[in-house]
């Protein structure tokens, strides 16, 4: 049996005291143990940012990528080896800003992996600049006139037919743990956005700010996460009330089940042919 200590941090934390990331990595740890996944069955891929350091605070295979580039590498690793549980993690700047095009591509492609976005609506590692999700009017050193038109990434996810879309809150770990678990169990690209207070640089969207606004869709009678139009409406809801829980879920063919070369066996398990077996291809040129 896998125990919580198997996922003890591989190096000392570098996050600020009180950072929402502590709760998120704790939830993730609990899920991995609950699913009885050995560390060697898990590949954590991250980009750059405070959330990008998360893989180092677990014990697993780790590919800590460039800023914004976690998802391309994570998808490729999963395509090569479906036996791995591939989890990418990063922040709002990393995933929605620098990696925005990859975010779109991955949702369309639907590789079976989990993507956790720690959304604190601010750049932490570079010390306090606005992010794609900063609320309107958010003043920072690079946005002295204030931010405007924040990106509604989950609405984009619905438009992109992302096959699993959830939102959690770093202040509700019980719910978050369940959402991450559902995301990992989902067959396809699972997006879990986590509202995560930044105690150092976001003095507006604080723990209390989120706490007052979040409500779980599980408590909303009649909400059907398979209804795409309803999901679109919910993902646009932001302000006085912010919905959490599973916003959208659909069954779609995964990339791995679509592509002939890997339907039967992951690439890494396939035998490398002797070069002479390519003789028919040489003859095609003759």
């Amino acid at each position: 049996m896998v125990a919580i200590n198997d996922y003890a941090p591989a190096m000392p934390y570098q996050w600020c005291p009180g950072c929402g990331n502590f709760g998120i990595v704790g939830s993730l740890r609990q899920v991995l143990v609950a699913l009885n996944l050995e560390p060697s069955q898990v590949l954590m891929v991250s980009g750059i940012g405070q959330a990008g350091k998360m893989p180092h605070y677990l014990h697993s295979h780790v590919l800590n990528e460039l800023h914004g580039r976690a998802i391309p590498a994570a998808q490729a690793a999963k395509i090569v080896n479906h036996e791995l549980q591939v989890i990418a993690v990063g922040g709002d700047g990393d995933g929605y800003g620098e990696g925005g095009n990859h975010f779109l591509g991955a949702m369309h492609r639907n590789v079976d992996m989990t993507y956790i976005v720690c959304n604190n609506q601010v750049y932490g590692l570079t010390k306090g600049q606005a992010s794609p999700t900063s609320d309107e009017g958010f003043v920072s050193r690079t946005t002295p006139d204030g931010s405007w038109t924040p990106m509604r990434a989950l609405a984009i996810a619905v438009a992109s037919d992302c096959s699993f879309i959830a939102r959690g809150f770093a202040g509700d770990l019980q719910q978050l743990t369940e959402l991450i678990k559902q995301g990992i169990l989902h067959k396809g690209f699972a997006l879990i956005e986590v509202l995560q207070p930044c105690v150092s640089f976001n003095k507006i969207n604080t723990f209390a700010w989120y706490k007052q606004r979040v409500y779980s869709l599980e408590s909303e009678k009649g909400y059907d996460p398979s209804n795409r139009a309803a999901a679109f409406e919910k993902t646009l809801e932001w302000g006085e009330k912010i919905p959490t829980g599973i916003l959208y879920k659909s069954e779609r063919t995964t990339y791995e089940n679509h592509v002939a070369a890997i339907k039967n066996l992951p690439l890494i398990r396939q035998t490398i042919l002797n070069p002479v077996e390519f003789r028919p291809l040489v003859e095609e040129f003759m």
Partner: protein
């Protein structure tokens, strides 16, 4: 040496490529040596494009500007290329579409479209009428042509094949009966079976043979056909070819796939490579073996999208931020494109670092006859890549363990195996990020140590030494065919000429270059398809030697031997 040069010209969409390729393939089947190159605009319809086919009883590796047969599908082809005809050169053209300029002798009108309509009911078969006629002018019958046409059109069904055969025979018969005086004496082939393959085909085949299992690439001229070939054959040979959202994704996917344990490659051109260079640096830092094909075209920016250039020598060698080891191959021939690809995968695995195959539009899209690859001689060397069994036995595995050679045993992530941790941040031996000075220095030294190993294994420059030479022609990559032919011409003219061609430009083979060009009395002339003589600058940087003269061409077109000969003669005046 006997040779026959065809040029087929017309608008994009008229089937210039098909006629040219079918002619080339037919001649190759006759046992002739063939070199064919393509010239086309960045458009799908209209404009002017041509396909040159040079065939000979001796090996040829460049085009010749002196035409024996000009197949003219439109007026512009005549207007632009009539000056390239030899004295006894023949033009064949469709008199319903093209007006011959007065005074042009040996012009043979063949109503391509009308004949096609009469024999097959479909004017689209005009191409095969032209092909049959063109072949007849060369003195060949339609026997082998019919086999080649059958293969070329078989996927479109029996009736399409049948119509093309009828049309080709009609074109052939027309020349035989109406214009037999224009028929040339055929050059006899040696009956050997050879491949007719382009540089992209050789690279794509090389990648498959080398055991590449994952390719990610965003289409871009001139390397798209590498992606297309692997996507097609990958369905049978179980190779994934993924077209991602952009080149940044492509290179990072390749890093992810290689980290996960398979051989992985991408292919692009200069603009796409610009987007990839951060990923090249990542592969250097994470010690991930990847292969990247960089097919140069004319820059800067979008430049001339369908034209050739060698403007990215420095860009490839110095691609990526920071210091890290890398290798850059520059295959001088289409045949070497295959071998360079296999070598690139082996070198990448041995030194766990990025390897670039630097080609250009000319070599990527030109065809040449070569002896079939001897697959039994292909060696696959994965270096210190660990098998499951060996990896599972490891205690206290550290992905980036400090070693004498700089190469650390490489496990891949699998259930039950050691944890494989790597980071784009500077990291410790275990792969976790660090910032301390001593370890940083040790890790940098470890990575750069691999450059020493790669330097020892650098491919020897191709040196055709003519003792006591007056001249040495120096080049890299695709210019070899023209340079080699130019050297032969110069030698015949009494100018003793050697050739030095670099099949690998990084690590730089300094010792070999010094011993070849550092001699008193031999004037060194550099031949490059770029504006700034990048190899000349690299040679000075790495050896302190300045070449005597640079022959530069940056109009987007490849060199022919005679251009080099003329410039080289100036140097001796």
């Amino acid at each position: 040496m006997a040779e026959l040069n065809y040029l087929v010209g017309g608008e994009a969409g008229q089937g210039v490529q098909t006629i040219g390729f079918v002619l080339g393939k037919t001649m190759a089947r006759h046992g002739l040596y063939v070199f064919a190159d393509q010239d086309y605009e960045s458009r799908v319809r209209g404009g002017h494009s041509f396909f040159r086919v040079r065939m000979s009883d001796s090996p040829v590796g460049a085009y010749s500007p002196d035409l024996d047969v000009l197949v003219s599908l439109d007026q512009r082809t005549i207007d632009l290329h009539q000056s390239e005809l030899k004295n006894d050169g023949v033009v064949i053209y469709d008199p319903d579409k093209v007006t011959m300029p007065p005074g042009l002798k040996n012009a043979v009108g063949v109503a391509f479209e009308k004949t096609a309509t009469e024999t097959t009911g479909n004017k689209i078969m005009a191409n095969s009428v032209a092909t049959g006629a063109a072949l007849a002018i060369g003195g060949y019958d339609t026997g082998i042509l019919e086999t080649v046409l059958g293969e070329e059109f078989s996927r479109m069904g029996a009736s399409v094949v049948d119509s093309n055969l009828k049309a080709a025979r009609a074109g052939y018969e027309y020349i035989k009966t109406q214009s037999s005086s224009a028929i040339k004496r055929p050059i006899n082939g040696d009956g050997q079976k050879r491949m007719l393959i382009d540089g992209n085909g050789a690279i794509a085949l090389g990648a498959l043979v080398a055991g590449c299992k994952f390719v990610a690439g965003y289409p871009m001229t001139p390397t798209s056909s590498i992606l297309e070939y692997i996507a097609d054959k990958g369905r049978k040979y179980n190779v994934v070819m993924l077209q991602p959202e952009d080149e940044i994704a492509a290179i990072n996917m390749v890093v992810g796939a290689a980290y996960a344990g398979v051989r992985a490659m991408t292919a692009t051109s200069g603009g796409g490579f610009c987007l990839m260079v951060e990923g090249i640096s990542l592969a250097g830092m994470t010690e991930t073996p990847i292969v990247c094909v960089l097919g140069q075209r004319s820059g800067p920016a979008i430049g001339l999208p369908t034209r050739t250039e060698q403007g990215e020598l420095f860009f490839s060698i110095f691609s990526g931020h920071g210091d890290f080891p890398k290798a850059v191959f520059s295959p001088p021939t289409i045949e070497d494109c295959f071998h360079a690809t296999v070598s690139a995968f082996n070198l990448a695995d041995r030194y766990q670092t990025p390897v670039i195959i630097l080609t250009d539009h000319h070599i990527a899209s030109s065809y040449q006859t070569i002896n079939p690859f001897d697959l039994s001689k292909v060696e696959i060397d994965r270096g210190e890549f660990l098998t499951d069994g060996d990896a599972a036995k490891l205690v206290d595995y550290k992905r980036h363990r400090l070693t004498k050679s700089g190469v650390s045993p490489r496990a891949y992530p699998f259930s039950g195996g050691p944890l494989v941790v790597t980071d784009s941040d500077e990291h410790d031996e275990a792969g976790h990020m660090i910032e301390d000075t001593l370890l940083r220095t040790q890790m940098m030294d470890k990575r750069m140590k691999k450059m020493e190993g790669m330097t020892q294994q650098v491919l020897t420059p191709w040196y055709i030494n003519n003792p006591g030479a007056d001249l040495i022609l120096v080049g890299w990559g695709s210019t070899f065919g023209a340079i080699y032919e130019a050297a032969n011409i110069l030698n015949k003219d009494g100018i003793r000429t050697s050739v030095l061609q670099l099949p690998q430009v990084w690590p730089f083979p300094a010792d070999a270059v010094i011993s070849a060009i550092g001699r008193n009395g031999t004037r060194s002339i550099l031949v490059e398809n770029n504006a700034t003589a990048q190899l000349a600058n690299l040679i000075r940087m790495e050896t302190g030697i300045s070449v005597n003269r640079s022959i530069l061409k940056y109009d987007g077109r490849p060199f022919s031997a005679d251009m080099i000969v003329k410039e080289a003669q100036k140097e001796l005046k």
